[in-house]
């Protein structure tokens, strides 16, 4: 299976490729991609250089242009598609039907993947995207169980790519306005969720409060870990119960499900984390490359290889196991 690895910076791209990534995904440094974070992403020159580097090492580069173009400013997104093609990208990852339509008409030779931000969660809609826009691969939303993924693959020719490691959206991706409700900045419009510009850590008598847009999302004791205040993983009270009502501050690790995912017909495994450092990316990529090579050779997946990367933080297999719902 192909591993698709994150790169928030050119240094991370090189680290991922050297660590064994078959494919790297990245974005331009603006609101056209869903990780529009301060200090991250690629200029046009860096993208060209990154693609050259990856290709020289036998790796592919996918360019994520997966926010929803703003009415009146669509040129920025269209230019990003054109520039990805110029840079030699192997595919673009798109979510917006209007932009997919444009790319299919104006850049027909540029391979199109459907972003997870489109939350295409069944075979009917996936086949529809293939018919309408010539989409060759879909990144599946993180709401499906392994048997459901297998059922989708049985009904479509479109390749499927699934997340196996890193941050986890509990809401259907691209269908969530929690962040813009609290901060005015949204994944769909601005490429950010729970943005750092609206985060405030405040020391109190008892410990540390993490606030987002003025709402206190976490409160931890003096020496406890302080998770980033992502809205859906915050601590809230409802009907007299206080806790992580939507999702615990966990991250996804589906490493041990690689054989099942392979059997379900999945083409590619995606690692989340364009906001993480090059050292983190290199470690995760190295581990997953070992795992998929073991899978391909019919050897068992080494047990708990990534334990050191998630030690101290709970991990989950998310929706891949049906009980998650």
């Amino acid at each position: 299976m192909e591993i698709v690895c994150p790169a928030g910076t050119p240094a991370a791209l090189r680290a991922a490729v050297k660590a064994g990534a078959h494919t790297v995904y990245c974005g331009f440094a603006d609101e056209t991609n869903a990780r529009n974070f301060p200090g991250l992403n690629f200029s046009r020159e860096e993208m060209q250089e990154g693609v050259r580097f990856a290709h020289a090492h036998g790796a592919k580069v996918l360019v994520a242009i997966n926010t929803y173009p703003r009415a009146g400013s669509e040129t920025l997104w269209r230019q990003a598609v054109a520039d990805a093609e110029t840079a030699g990208a192997d595919a673009v990852i798109l979510a917006d039907p209007g932009l997919l339509d444009y790319a299919a008409q104006s850049h027909p030779d540029l391979r199109r993947h459907l972003s997870v931000q489109a939350a295409a969660a069944n075979a009917d809609i996936i086949n529809f995207y293939a018919r309408a826009f010539g989409v060759k691969r879909v990144v599946l939303p993180r709401v499906l169980s392994v048997p459901e993924i297998a059922a989708i693959n049985a009904e479509t020719e479109v390749e499927t790519e699934v997340f196996v490691f890193g941050g986890l959206c509990v809401m259907a991706e691209g269908r969530c306005s929690l962040s813009s409700y609290a901060t005015g900045q949204s994944p769909n419009m601005n490429g950010v969720c729970s943005p750092a510009s609206h985060v405030e850590y405040r020391e109190t008598g008892e410990g540390l409060d993490a606030r987002l847009g003025g709402y206190t999302i976490h409160r931890v004791g003096r020496d406890e870990p302080a998770p980033y205040p992502t809205l859906c993983k915050g601590c809230f009270t409802a009907g007299g119960k206080t806790g992580h009502l939507f999702e615990d501050p966990v991250s996804l690790n589906a490493e041990q499900l690689i054989p099942q995912l392979a059997k379900a017909g999945v083409t590619a495994l995606k690692i989340e984390g364009r906001q993480r450092s090059r050292s983190y990316v290199a470690q995760v990529v190295r581990n997953f490359r070992t795992a998929v090579d073991a899978q391909a050779a019919g050897r068992p997946i080494p047990q708990g290889m990534l334990a050191s990367l998630s030690e101290g933080q709970a991990t989950t297999t998310g929706a891949y196991k049906k009980t998650w719902r």
Binding site: Y68, P69, R70, A71, G72, E74, A95, D96, P97, G98, L99, D101, Y102, A119, A120, A121, N122, A123, D124, I125, F128, P141, R142, V143, L144, E148, V170, M171, A172, R175, C176, S177, L178, S180, Y181, A182, T183, G184, S186, N188, M189, G213, Y215, T216, I217, G234, C235, F236, T237, A238, G239, K241, T242, L245, F246, E247, A319, K322, W324, R325
Partner: protein, 301 residues
Amino acid sequence: MELTVGANQFFWTPEAWSSLYEDLAHTPVDRVVLGELVCSKRLPFYQDRIPAAVTTLLEAGKQPILTSLALVTLKRERKMTAELAEMGIEVEINDLTALATLPEGARFSVGPLVNVYNESTLAWLAGRGATRVCLPPELPIGPVRTLAQAGRDLGVAIEVWAQGRLPLAISGRCYHARRHGRTKDNCQFACEEDPDGLDVRTLENRSFLAMNGVQTLSESHACADYQVELLRDAGISALRLSPQTGDFAGLCRLWRQRLDGEIAPGEVAAALRRAKPDIRLSDGFLTGASGAEWSGARAGS
């Protein structure tokens, strides 16, 4: 401007469900979207009542529209979605899956849970038969204006979310069930206890969100009372009102008066506050810095 009543987002008893549409027949609204938007498990409880509600609305001169589900994953849900067109009335798609199963050339509406953020997507939908689009609630007034103009050129009526708790997210996981320590498959319909959603408060005990099964809403009630003139000037053709408990039919009448200039800006908000003194209102998605903001707070009312 016209008034559209959106699909009821909550799980009401079958009796309450039916009386909503009987009451709406006597209100000055133009069209009513009905059917199940949020969770396919709710539908069997009132499915057999839909034909009667449709008849009631048609006889009262309202246009009934059937909504699709917001998130289609299961086989049963795909079947449900494919069967929508067979009801013989217009469908409002709230997941593009419904578009995939509509017969070629059918006219349809697009609901607020489909991502229509720009002119290209609007044009693409119009090309496939869309005649009416309710924009995503998070869109600010600038893009709303641009899309209203584009809609006029394409012959697509553009609608804006004007009243009611805002649909902020949809998930594969049921939060009502999770709160009760159950899974979605064994939810025991916990969401039925909260006909307006369950308040979700922050750690400093501030009202923030409302839980509604697999859906997450704003705790505040959106209210575009102060933006009516702005939206009319932008070329918006209808405002959308979302059902809630209490005198919803009365609220519909109030909105008609507001659109007809019989009551002044701020009077809808004032009436909402009279009916429920602790209600929190918001209009920040349209004109504020964040969705939760309320321009009435600045106006001192």
